[in-house]
Amino acid sequence: MPLRKRRRDARAPPRAFPPAGAGEGAKRRAGRSTERRRFAEGFWETHSKEEDSLCGQPLKADRQLVQSASSTAHSKQGERQESVLIQWSSSDSELSDCEPKPPATNAVTRRRLPCYQPVHQSYSSYLRMITTAKQPQEGEFENIEWDSDSSDHDGSVEISDCDSITEEQGDSAEPFLGDAVDISDRSSGPDTTASVTPARCDMNSEQPGRNVGRSASDWVRCVQALLKTPPKQEGRRFRTPEDSAKKKRKFLRGGLAERLSKLQSRQRSAVSFWRHQSSYSTHPGTNPSALVLEMLSVQEECGLQLALCRPLETHLTSRSLGGASEELLVLFSKDTAVHLLAGPGDTVCVFPPWQKLTLKDQSHTVILNTHFSQRLVHDSKVVVGIPRAAPAVCPLYPLTRLFSLTDRSDPAPQKTPTASPVPPRQCRPALREAEADREVCNSLLEVTEARGRADWSARHVQVVVQRVYCLNIADPSSPILLKNRGPQSTSQAQMMSQPSSRVCLLVQDSCGVFSEVQLHDSLADDGNLRRYASEWEGQRCVLRGVKVVQRLTRARSPWLFSLIDSLWPPATPPQARGASQGSWEDPAKLQAPAFCYVLSADHGERAVQVAPGQPSDELYQPAVAHSLKEILQGVPHSQRCTFTATVVHKRLKSTDPGQSEFWLFVTDSSLQTGQEGEQQRTVPVYVSSSCVLLQEVARTLSQPSACRLTFKDVVKEHDAVLCVERSLLQLEPLRDLDPSLIQLDQLGPTTATNTLCTLRGVIVSVDEGTASSWPTCTLCDSDRLEKAPGNQQEFLCGLCGATVDKPAVKMHLEVFLSCPPLSQCTVKVKLLQDTIKSVLNSAACGQEGYEVENVLGVALGPLAAYVRVVSRQPTFWMSLEEISL
């Protein structure tokens, strides 16, 4: 029975709806079969274009249809949207639009929707039948009408029912959406169906006959369109960087904006939830923290409503805020104001959380964050606000009124702008009563605060100079900046970008705060630094014209903080800021500083003036020199230390004194006098390019002779020492250690690369491939000798131009030694000239050179050598280079 079959099953799988007009057509039962056939034909005709012939395979085709339809529909059952989603519509563009549309906006859709609901039902029941995968009953199948099948289709019966209903012109069509709702929800019997359908079918009464065939193809098109990925919209305007209005930038993870955005969304949902709940009347008396206020006047300013209110005495919190006499300035956001619609004379209740802000200048207390507000009437019933006249708009505040972020400055009254470029607000520097000189402050942080003001001027501050050193500082006007600043000559830019060595001071104030002060003097000669160090280091000085250049943190400047850590905790307890003399903090409990300001001072010598007083301030922590043994044993890694040592070997990359990085091997008496094997005899010191070398030091190092240096504030790293930024190398007179008596570690299995050692051995082999000799100029040591024109016996030096008749012969020889402590190891040594000569002297010289056999077995040693390579793969071997100490 058609009506029976129309019954809905809520558990039915997602349904695809057949095209509209499937049911309309023959109005009479007599014509029904024709219509049925037409519908079925039309539908399957279209569908068979995609699939192979469906004739004779109705079940399979239906399954495919079902699958395709199911995949497009939502998986939820009975979804009203689903019934709207897969909807035939008048134009292709609507096919991909999944939004449910009200019928008023889509008259065309309505037109195309004859008897939608019963056809849908019929199909749904049919699809249900298929997807339950049970053998269709004979009777049912007989009802199916296909192209070639003559059996009646269930759906066709439904269609016919719809046809009959179409005749009835019911009331005006209900909204389409409502139809869909009914369709999906309805699970009752056919009677309901019959009663509801008239209205729907009425929608398509205008075009009864036409839509059968077309609607089937429309449906198929619809399904296909839903299955297809929507094409990329070409020609969409891509957002350019300039399009900042439309650009939506994601907030930085972990940043303030992201945090506020999360707080805001949380608050928004809390407010809307609260508003929904509070419509069921919330009495303010139940909440002790709520404010009950009477509005006195309202103004609008910059999107906010500023209401001057008087707290009503009836409530606790209102009373605690100052009572009836105290006026509160309550700010409401635009959204809250629209919700409240309150005006002067009204009573408003502000529920927590609200915030209070006290204006220092005036006596008003300001209430902020008043999202949870309600307007009350006399008997405390909550009512929806009645629209009132818009509040007066505050005039725009004068743009010259700046925000001062410092607490201490007296707020100046608003002044009219003058012609002078200096801003009108004058700030008085903060004063400490203990200071006799009222211009000088004691705290570095005050100086840094001063820069926050509009018209800050350079400050004077009294500090203790802890260290004096040099730094390579690039000129602040780097080329990158200049590009932004406009047309500047590139040569000027290049000149300015050269880093220069500038004298810097590490200073500390009485509060324990460190700062690095960059002076404007560049290191013209060493005398400056020595003089400054002797005059200022350890003294309490006044820095004049101090300005903040930069703020550094540990992450950005680890070397600076390693130096600061070596001076922490302070020698005297730091004074707490703003406190009187009496309050001290325990230095041991203090944390090392996490930030340090870089300041600049006035030009010239007057930048730093020694304050009269004690010869050395108690806060000063001098760099105490230790012996190398103590340093190797006692100083933890990555800590700063100071020592004096003799340089026994240098490995310079070039002879240029200004060259950046090299290794020094140093030793002192503590290492030399120890027991054999107890401690390493020499310590490698790496001098990096960031360590500024004094000219005399660089000059001395470039000479082959030994020298003695004080390494101040260098970093100990494992068994080596690093000279980095803020380390200082100072020349010392050579004494205390006779270079010729220096002992080195014996070569052994534990010898590491980049160390010095001493070895003895017997030559077992010679590296013949690299053995060579060449003449050099006796004057300049150059190997660019050419035969002198004219005199074949003489040579002309290509470098110095001298004529050499007896050139010096230089030799290169690498030999393999057998060393007793290292029986398993192959030791290869590159010999020095003198050693080569002594070795070859004992060998006979033939016509073509020396015989290898004559060299084998020669005992060498003790030799001082530098360990270049130690390799254990594939065999244990070492490559050494003989050195002379």
């Binding site: 960087p241 300039e242 399009d243 900042s244 650009k247 930085l252 940043g255 303030l256 904006a257 992201e258 945090r259 506020l260 955005s261 707080l263 805001q264 103004q299 300013e301 910059c302 999107g303 906010l304 300035l329 700010l331 915030q355 802000l357 204006l359 005036q362 300001v366 902020l368 964050n369 505050c394 725009l396 505040y397 743009l399 010259t400 009124r401 925000f403 001062s404 972020l405 410092t406 470029p421 200096v422 801003p423 820069r451 926050g452 509009a454 018209d455 800050w456 001027s457 602040p476 006007s477 200049l482 932004n484 600043r485 406009g486 047309p487 300005k547 250049v549 930069q550 703020r551 996490a594």
Partner: protein, 139 residues
Amino acid sequence: MSCLSAVAEELLRDIKRVFAETSKIPDDLLVALKFVFGSTALQALDLVDHRSVTCLSSPSGRKVFQVIGGSGKVYTCYASCHYCPCPAFTFSVLRRGDSLLCKHILAVYLSQATQLSQQEAVSDQQMSDILSGKTRDST
């Protein structure tokens, strides 16, 4: 009755004070910032997060701020008055009076309060060029 600007100023001062003590801005101050400044607050904080504010100072003592906006454009804001060449300032602040500040000026204040602004020293000539609008990127 006090103006909103006094409230804003006090709020910024509070932020600065709390940040100096704790090195962070607590949630309640962030919420208050949003309450007072609206959506400008979010955008300004984003600029601060990206360290977009640079304070340029010259030996003559002049100071000016440059803020890199969301689109990459550089806006020059003054230290002596509230002015920004961005369109938002012209419309929202000057014409409609919807906002107290534009996001760039607020970012300048917040960067100062949190000491997250970059510092650069420029020569007097460069400062003159910036202030007179001769440079390419400043408006």
